[in-house]
């Protein structure tokens, strides 16, 4: 899977939880889930669970604690996919 494909899948996953739609339109790797997209912290776990379902991977606590930005999430997904 290319990084672009990964990014577009991630964008679909986070969309229902985003409270700042303008930032979603200009999503980059640097985008921060809480600061920029205003995703509620109690919904970040839904992003993590959706990512697990979509990519059929398991995200442990050490990986989850990093998943606060697009970049960090893509890195987690890539490394978990590589372990499969």
């Amino acid at each position: 899977m290319t990084k672009e494909e990964l990014l577009s899948k991630l964008k679909i996953i986070i969309t229902p939880y985003v409270q700042n739609q303008e930032e979603l339109d200009t999503l980059t790797e640097e985008t921060d889930f809480i600061k920029d997209l205003e995703i509620n912290s109690a919904n970040l776990v839904d992003v993590v669970l959706d990512v697990e379902d979509e990519f059929d991977i398991e995200i442990d606590n050490d990986a989850m604690e990093k998943m606060l930005t697009v970049k960090a999430s893509i890195e987690v997904i890539e490394s978990k996919l590589a372990e499969k």
Binding site: L44, D46, M64, E65
Partner: protein
């Protein structure tokens, strides 16, 4: 150090499905999960524990200038008033009123002012008013910004007020601030 967190219960029930597979397991310790499931009102217990963890996360983050992390399981509730993270113990108070749950968390006991408002952005304004009185400056001279770790700090005449111990929270129809006296 101090932190606070408010949960609008109506909004929370719309935004989150706590019974979703894996949801509790990712956020709560095994002991917390048992207490939640044994509780008379599991959903309310979820948000009580959650607000205790979030309030403590904020106090802990300010205490050690920590960069943001999503590690709610590392903050474990040991009673209604104690949350531990690593070797540190924080004292919490949690208030449950019809439409919200509100927690404050402190590392050292001390006197503080804590106020809840039923409008989303009200706490920011009221905190600024409090500070403008405290420092004898105009409201416009007080600014609230976030530092590189996303921790809120106060600027007075563009200068950071270091060591000011406070926390802000908002969710749905509610907002609150807490600050050292």
């Amino acid at each position: 150090m101090i932190g606070n967190d408010i949960v609008d219960l109506k909004l929370a029930s719309r935004q989150s499905d706590w019974q979703r597979k894996g949801w509790l397991q990712k956020l709560f310790t095994n002991a917390e999960q048992r207490l939640i499931l044994a509780s008379e009102n599991p959903q309310l217990q979820v948000w009580k524990f959650w607000s205790m963890k979030e309030a403590t996360y904020k106090a802990h983050q300010r205490q050690f200038s920590l960069s943001p992390k999503y590690n709610p399981r590392d903050f474990s509730c040991h009673s209604d008033t104690v949350v531990r993270v690593d070797q540190y113990e924080y004292t919490t108070t949690t208030k449950y009123v019809e439409h919200y749950v509100y927690s404050t968390s402190m590392f050292n006991s001390g006197s503080y002012i804590s106020e809840v408002y039923d409008k989303e952005q009200h706490a920011r304004l009221e905190l600024k008013k409090n500070l403008s009185l405290r420092y004898g400056v105009k409201l416009a001279q007080i600014e609230l910004i976030k530092d590189e770790n996303q921790i809120p700090v106060v600027l007075c005449n563009k200068i950071i007020l270091k060591d000011l111990n406070f926390s802000l929270t908002h969710h749905g129809n509610f907002s609150a601030f807490v600050i050292d006296l």
